[in-house]
Every structure is written in C-alpha cells, then in structure tokens.
C-alpha cells in the first residue's frame, strides 16, 4: 500500500537534506540516552548484593523509589525501554514493508515510547504494584566496606549517587581525583571522580548526568505548556475575531511588554523555587509569542475554502478549529518549539545560578554552575556544566534552524 505524500513528509525530506540538522538530531540521541539511562551509568546502589546466602537487588528496587518525581518518570522510561525496543523492531519492519516514510515511522514509535512510559509510571505509582523498597535506609557502600569478606556487591559503571555526599577530605577536588587508600571509608571511595567533586564532596559527573534529566524535562514540559496555551488562545483569537480577538491581542501585547527572564525571575522568586514551578512559570509566560504566530496563521486559513465547506456542513466551532484549521496552522509554532526548549534550558540554568532554581540537593546543570560562580578557581565546576548546556542548546537550535529551513518553501530545492 503506497501512501500519498503529506506536508510533513515533504518537510521531513527537506529536513534530512540539511546535513547540520540531521547531525543535530543524531547528537540529541546520546543526550536523551544519558537522561534515560542515568542510573545505568551512575548509581551508588549495587545491582546485586550478596548478603550471606541471600541475594539482594537494591538498584532495581531503588528505581521505583526516588526523591524526585522527574527521576521516577525517567526510570520508568528506562524499564520500559527493552520492551519497547523489541516491539519497535518488529513494527518497524512491518511498516517498512508497507512503505511508510522514515519520519512517520519514527514519529509513531516515539509516541508509543512516551505512551508506554506513561502507562508504566501510572501503574507503578499504585503502592501495591510497586516493589517495596526495603533498603531505603541502608547505605550499601558503607556496609560493604565494613566487612568486605562476607558481603559482595556489583555496581554500575560509576558507583556514585547524585546526592551522595562525602565530607571527609573529598570537597572541591579536581577531575580524576581519587581518594588515597588510607582515607577510604566506603567501598566506592577508591573510584576516581571523573570531573572532580563539589563543595559537599558530591561527584560532579554523576550530578551532570542526573542534571540532564532535569534540564530536558524543564525544557520539554515548559514548551509543551506554552504551546498548548498559545495554540488554544491564538486560534480562538484568530477564528472568532471581534471582541475575543481584541481582548486576547491586548493580553498578548501586555505580557510581551515584560522582559521575559525578569518576569520569570520575579514569579519564581515570589512563589518559591522548585522545578515544577519553573516549568509552569516558563509555560505561563512564554505563550504570547506562540499565540501571535498561530493567530496570524489561523486568520489566513479562516478564509480558505475548506473552512467554508466545514461550516456549510454544520460542524461545531470546536471541531472546525481543532480538527481542520489548527493542524494546518501549526507549522510556525512547531518551528518555535526547539528554540523554546533551548531557551527554557538556558532560563532554568540562569535561575539556578541566581539561586532561584532547582533546590540545591537536587542535581541540575545550573546548580553545579552556581557552585562554580562562588569560586572561580574550581574550573571544572564552571566548564563541565557550561559544555553540557552549550551542547544541548546548540543541538536544539540547529534542529530549530533545520526545521525552519525545511518549512520555508522558498528554500525548497527540487526533489
């Protein structure tokens, strides 16, 4: 069965022709992979721990019990990954045989992955279904070190936790620092700190890895919120016109008058710092520009024949707007999305740098940066998170650029 070419197929083809943009999409994969697989890279919970005859699996149980809900979501994504990967391979082959384009296949597969994660997260949030964390109060690294003969554990690559402190001669150490054997107190002390430690002796590499989760979540959720608000308000203003239009346009104008970062800073500063508040506040302050784009596009589409046809068929306003007009006017808003994610990541880091961001024990790139700003001689605390932010932001900006060029009919080369 051959499918006709849709608008998005054309955009996808154009996008793939842009070398930089396709590389950016590839470069995004390791970032997302690091975010999802964070516990597989760094964790201070042993995968397997032999306690006499008994064999324990603290790492796996720990996945279900995290301090930060964001971590829980990503852990569910990690658990769901093998299931999804197998299903995706089979499905992909079948769709390929049918001749679906690469873009479409990937789009559906990623949607399925998100759905699977959501299902897992909901399922395991029911107390009965989730494995009980009987080791919540145990620190395996200490126990293992106390009697190395009787107990045995296997750790993941880097045996440090994101909020695991070491205040015994491990503060502010440079990259590749390794505690001298005489000072070991825990079993993971012998492992080198790849990018050094911060002022509480926490491993910076681990914090950056876990910080990826926070940064990406803030970016995506915030942009999701403001895309939704912007689309709804923008299409209402464009479709109904008149009083509604005047009202919404005024509100857009007023919100745009406030310098964005300053407004966000004020709101977050007054309500109180937390990632969820940051997401919501970025979402609530970012919608006007999207709404304006959508409004213009909807105004253009409203005059089209298919809208008159839909009206003549007696469809409800909601159906006309959301089923017919909006899908045709989404393009400019979607171009803004990658740039928006990049911006949200920058905003979150900036807020954390000022001390209004993620609360300190929770790892985030901005938090590490803040410690660096307090003492510039700790070079690794500045450079490492800077590189992380710069890389991610560049990748999202490149994707945004590619998307914009791909949607621009003037730049469209003959196929």
């Amino acid at each position: 069965m051959t499918q006709h070419e849709t608008y998005w197929d054309i955009v996808w083809q154009q996008f793939r022709k842009n070398r930089l943009a396709s590389w950016a999409v590839r470069a995004l994969t390791p970032v997302v992979a690091i975010a999802i697989c964070a516990p597989l890279i760094c964790s201070n919970q042993p995968l397997v721990f032999d306690e006499g005859p008994q064999r324990l699996y603290p790492w796996f149980r720990g996945l279900f019990h995290t301090a930060e809900p964001v971590d829980y979501l990503f852990n569910m994504a990690l658990i769901g990954f093998p299931v999804w990967a197998v299903a995706a391979l089979i499905q992909n082959r079948r769709w390929k045989a049918r001749g679906a384009s690469v873009g479409r296949r990937w789009w559906w597969l990623s949607l399925q992955y998100v759905g699977l994660t959501a299902v897992l997260a909901t399922a395991f949030s029911v107390p009965v279904l989730r494995p009980r964390n009987v080791y919540a109060s145990r620190t395996f690294t200490q126990e293992q070190f106390a009697s190395a003969q009787t107990k045995h554990g296997i750790y993941v690559l880097i045996p440090f936790g994101p909020i695991e402190q070491d205040l015994f001669g491990c503060e502010n150490r440079p990259p590749l620092f390794r505690k001298p054997a005489a000072e070991w107190r825990e079993s993971n002390d012998g492992f080198p700190h790849l990018i050094g430690t911060d002022n509480a002796g926490r491993d910076v590499f681990t914090r950056l890895v876990y910080g990826t989760r926070i940064s990406i979540t803030v970016g995506i959720v915030a942009v999701g919120i403001y895309l939704t608000i912007g689309c709804v308000l923008g299409s209402l203003a464009g479709y109904f016109g008149g009083f509604v239009d005047i009202l919404i346009s005024r509100v857009i104008e007023i919100v745009l008058l406030f310098p964005a970062f300053f407004l966000i800073l004020t709101l977050v500063g007054l309500i109180g710092p937390s990632i969820y508040i940051i997401m919501v506040v970025i979402g609530l302050t970012g919608w006007p520009s999207i709404a304006r784009l959508i409004r213009g596009e909807v105004l253009k589409q409203r005059a089209a024949d298919y809208v008159s046809a839909a009206q003549a068929l007696g469809f409800t306003h909601a159906r006309i707007v959301f089923r017919h007009i909006l899908p045709n006017s989404l393009a400019p808003a979607l171009v803004a999305a990658p740039f928006g994610i990049a911006n949200a990541i920058i905003t979150e880091a900036g807020l954390s740098l000022l001390g209004f961001g993620v609360r300190p024990p929770t790892p985030s790139w901005g938090n590490v940066l803040r410690l660096g700003s307090e003492n510039y001689s700790l070079v690794w605390l500045v450079i490492a998170p800077s590189l992380g932010i710069f890389f991610t932001v560049t990748v999202f900006n490149l994707i945004g650029n590619g998307l914009r060029d791909a949607m621009d009919p003037r730049l469209r080369s003959t196929r």
């Binding site: 104008e253 008058l257 406030f258 000022l354 940066l369 510039y376 800077s386 932010i389």
Partner: protein
C-alpha cells in the same frame, strides 16, 4: 504623523492599565501577612514593640491593611467589634485565660456568644478545636491577645469614632475605658505630630503647634519664670541654630548645647507665639529632645481613674481636631469604596511615579534607588546596543556578499555558536579565564571603577571605566549580536536577488555601490525594528550579567529586591521596564516608517 503618535500614546493607556493589573497580580503572589506568619501558631509575637511598630508603619504605607478591590469598611458598623476588642485589650493573658471556659460552655450568655463570634471572625488558627481542650487555654489566650491587637491595627482609622464614643459615654466602666485607649493606640499611629518632617513645610505648622499648645497649657505652671540674662544667651544661641543650614551640624550643636528643663518656656514661646518656619522647626526639635512624651496617650492595665481621664482627654482632643478625617461625608465614603483599596492606591502610586519607600531597613526612596541603578545600567545598555549594530551589520553584509564561500561559512558558524552561548556562561568563562588569574588576569572583576578613580581627569577616568566594563558589555551584546548578524545576512540576501539590484549591476554600477547604496538601504529596514525586541531581552539578561560582574545596576537591583521581597522596588522595576519597552516599540515603529517610504502613517497602522 502627529495624529499617529497621539493615537499610539492613547492606546498605551489601556496597555498600561493592563500592566498595573499584571503587576498587582504578581504582588498578590507573595505569601500572606508577614506579621501573622511571625506570630505563628504559638501565639507569641516574637517581635519587640519597636520592630512591630516599624512593620505597622510599613504595612500602612503600602496600604496592605486595605481590602484588595472594594473597601466596604467605611460602611461597616464597628461598635460591637471595638467594644469586645477593648474588653480583651484591657485584660492580661491570665485574665483572658480565666474567661475562656465561659466561651466554651454549653449554654453561653448573649455576651459570650458575641465574644465567641468576634474571636471566630479573627480567624485564629485552631480556635474551634482548642476551645474544648483545657490544656490549650494558655496558648489560646496568648493567641487571642495577639490577634485582637492585629485586628485593631487592621481596623485602623475606621474604628476610631466608636472607640472615642466608648470613652465619651459616661457609663463605660474603667476597665473598658482602659481597653478603649489601648485600642486607639493600636489603631492610630502618631495621633499628634510634635516635630516637622525632614523637609519642613508651612502646612505642617498647625498640627505641630496644636500638640505643643496642649502640652503648654497643662505644664505652663510647672516652669519657673525665665531669667532675663539667661534669655539673652538663649536668644543668641537660638539665632545661630536657626541660621545653620546643614542638618547634621545642627544636631551636633544641639547635642553640645547645655540647656536644662527651665529653658523650655523660651522654646515653647518661640514655637507657639508665631515665628518663621526655621525658628519653629528648631524650637520643636529642642522641645522634643527634652520632652519625649509631651501628651500621654497610653495607659497601663492597672491605671487609676484620674490617669485614664487625663489620657482620654488627649484622645478626644485629637479626635475633635481631625473630625473631617474620621467622619467622612456620604459621598466621600462612596468614593472611598473604590479609591481606598490596595489596587487603587497602587495605580495612583504608579501613575504618579510616586513609588514610595523601599521596605528594607534603610527605607530609601524607591525612585532614588532606581535612578542610581539606571545611571549605572544605561551606559552599559547603550554601549552594548551600539556595539551590536556596529559589528553585526557589517558581518551580515560580508556573509551575504560572500554567500557560500569560506568567509560566509566561518562567520556563520561562529555566529551560530555565539547564538547558542548563554550570556551568563560567556560571562563566567570570561571571569574564570580573564579576571581570576587562570590563566590570565587582565580585567578586573566585581566593580565599575578602580579605587581612587574619582580623582582622575576625564580621559583616564573613561579609560578606567572602559577597562572595567568591557567584559559586561561584551556579554550583554553577544546573543543579540549573533541574532542581528544572522538576520541582516538573510534580509540582505533577499534583497540582493531582486530585480533592481540586477538592474543596477547591468547599468555598470560598481559592486561596492550596488551593495552599499542599492541593496543595503532596503535590506536594513527590517533590522531597525529588531531594536525593540533586543531591549527586553537585554533588560532581562542583564540580571545575570550584573549578578556575575557585581554591577549595581537595574538587573542586580531586581535580583536583590526579589531576594529580599522588597515589593515597592520590585513594582517600580516591573513598571519602568514595561514602559521603557513600550516606548522602544513605538520608537522602532516610527523609525520603520521614517526609513521605508512605502509605509505611511495612514491606513491601519495603529494595530
């Protein structure tokens, strides 16, 4: 053109109104009444009377004791609440405690019901749950005392007539009179003014004089007649004091001068018997130095009847002199329904650019703080804007002319990386590499001038200033610079491929002129408008840059005032920022029309 500008300015009014609404909403996000939070569940006010009074002044200054949008207090009947409040304020904690069981009993008297309802209306936390529990009575009594006090403070001037009526009635028992006086002390701050404000005005004279006159009437007989020789000396000293222009020196002289109590009649006469404003000003200060409490206004719980009558007389005097204030006419009350609210007061303050004082301990006027911050920030912003346009436009032109060649690719790549580099990361990298000695120590960090820079002549001063501000300016401009260069590249590319450029080339115009005269002129037009979109970004972005470089400008001020919850300053900042952005949008629209003859002021340009 003028009609267009006027129309735009008129359209700004509803927008400004919207800005005040948004700012008001932001203010409301602040967590509740800080005083109440300090009182907490324990019920003991953890503040000394002095900080409490300072807080109260601040609260009234910000009008936080007023309702948000609709002030119905002028139509409420306060007779009953004031009576009960007076009852509770006349009791010690132990006495309140002894009364609580009466409130809790099964068949209370009408009086107890009224009191219970009153206490309930104060919204004391866990009031109902702790009423039947005898163990809680101790803390409940403390809470009742604190909350009744706060209620009096919130009632403010509205309850004064009822409290005075309570004092005037002849059948009021002594205890209740004491309570009423204590109520009045909570409701009114500084009923009498005994000294002038720091900028004396003639209008203040009647209030100042009236208080002292009352004091003089009461105390005249206690002073011996003044010795003529002494009077001579005093007269001379007084003349020098009055002539002293510097306020600080004046106070020093007053500290040194050796007056005793018997000299006071001299100053009282100076103040009361007419005289110039400076004379009265100095006399009132001297009197206040000696008589800290000229008219007694507060009474202890166990005051005698004579004492109470004396203080009550003072309060009545105050009430009678301010009748108009306390008994407003019906029209005034109807008007105040809308104008005496938090929102209305805020709009008035913003509209008149009268931002009040900061809530910090220094109580600096907000406008002064703002102005000193603007003086620091504005040069940086302007320098950054100039830098952006000076560098970005030529870069864009080079890229467009050399499209697809090495220069274009290289510059585009660098620009793109700059575009992705947040200003604060650039700033931190600069600070790390160039300011803190690893590996270079070229630029200074954390100040705008070297020490002793004020003594330099203007050339080295400027050089010093530039040396200190290079890095912040670069950080401020990086992001917008990259954006503008990329934008000017693409807009010039659009123009270059148009027919009239080809025509110019065909005519044999030299390539340089084709680009500079024909293409650039049209290509630059859209760039002008970007000016309005960079400004908000810079105002916001400067928070981080100024934070990193320790520059005491607008950005740092906003950070500090958010951190310290300094609402008046924050308000003013939000408002001023919004206005600046609004005018820059107007300016860029005007520039647009000026630059592009195809667009005119007519038509539907008002959007």
């Amino acid at each position: 053109m003028w009609t267009y500008i006027i129309r735009r300015l008129l359209l700004m009014i509803p927008t400004l109104f919207g800005v005040t609404v948004v700012s008001f909403c932001i203010m409301q996000l602040a967590p509740g009444d800080p005083l109440m939070m300090q009182l907490g569940a324990g019920g003991s006010a953890g503040q000394s009377t002095q900080t409490r009074e300072a807080f109260l002044i601040q609260k009234r200054d910000l009008k936080l004791d007023k309702p948000l949008l609709l002030n119905r207090n002028y139509f409420r009947d306060y007779t009953e609440p004031v009576r009960i409040a007076a009852h509770y304020l006349s009791l010690s904690v132990e006495e309140i405690r002894a009364e609580i069981p009466a409130l809790a009993q099964a068949n209370p008297t009408a009086e107890d019901v009224a009191r219970r309802e009153f206490l309930r209306s104060l919204k004391i936390p866990e009031f109902d749950s702790s009423l039947p529990d005898a163990d809680q009575y101790e803390s409940l009594a403390r809470k009742i005392q604190a909350w009744v006090q706060v209620d009096c403070e919130d009632t403010g001037l509205n309850g004064v007539p009822e409290a005075i009526a309570l004092l005037k009635r002849s059948d009021t028992p002594l205890r209740e009179r004491i309570g009423a006086i204590r109520c009045l002390n909570r409701m009114v701050i500084d009923p009498f003014v005994f000294t002038y404000s720091s900028q004396p005005r003639e209008a203040e004279t009647p209030r100042v004089v009236s208080g002292w006159k009352e004091w003089w009437l009461k105390n005249e007989k206690t002073f011996p007649p003044l010795d003529p020789d002494r009077k001579e000396i005093l007269e001379q000293q007084f003349a020098t004091l009055v002539a002293e222009p510097d306020r600080g020196v004046l106070f020093e002289k007053l500290q040194e001068a050796s007056y005793d109590r018997d000299d006071l009649p001299f100053f009282a006469h100076k103040l009361l018997d007419g005289g110039t404003l400076p004379e009265r000003f100095v006399a009132s200060i001297v009197l206040k130095l000696f008589v800290s409490v000229p008219l007694k206004l507060d009474v202890p719980l166990d005051a005698s009847a004579a004492e109470v009558a004396d203080v009550a007389a003072n309060w009545k005097l105050h009430y009678d002199s301010q009748q108009a204030e306390y008994r407003p006419s019906l029209t005034t009350r109807c008007l105040r329904l809308f104008t005496d609210t938090q929102y209305a007061h805020m709009v008035t303050r913003l509209a008149t650019f009268n931002f009040g004082r900061s809530t910090l301990a220094t109580r600096e006027p907000v406008s002064e703080r703002l102005w000193s911050a603007v003086k620091v920030s504005a040069p940086l912003m302007i320098a950054a804007q100039i830098l952006i346009y000076l560098i970005a436009v030529p870069l864009g032109v080079i890229c467009a002319v050399r499209r697809g060649r090495l220069a274009d690719n290289l510059i585009s790549l660098v620009l793109f990386m700059l575009y992705s580099l947040p200003s604060f990361i650039a700033g931190m990298l600069f600070l790390m590499t160039l300011c803190f000695g690893k590996p270079f120590k070229v630029f200074p960090a954390m100040s705008l001038h070297s020490e002793g820079a004020d003594d330099l002549s203007w050339v080295p001063w400027l050089a010093d200033y530039a040396w200190h501000t290079v890095l912040p300016i670069v950080c401020l401009s990086l992001f917008s610079l990259a954006g503008l260069a990329m934008y000017s590249r693409s807009s010039l590319l659009d123009v270059i491929s148009q027919d009239y450029v080809r025509t110019a080339r065909a005519k044999g115009v030299r390539e340089v002129f084709v680009i500079l005269k024909h293409a650039l002129r049209n290509g630059l037009i859209p760039i002008i408008t970007l000016f309005s979109s960079f400004l908000p970004a810079m105002l916001g972005g400067s928070v981080l840059v100024e934070f990193l470089f320790g520059i005491p400008g607008m950005g740092r001020l906003s950070w500090v005032s958010i951190e310290q919850k300094d609402f008046p300053t924050l308000m003013a900042l939000i408002y001023v920022d919004a206005i600046v952005v609004m005018f820059s949008i107007l300016l860029s629209d005007l520039l647009y029309v000026a630059a592009d003859p195809r667009i005119s002021f007519g038509g539907k340009g008002a959007g």
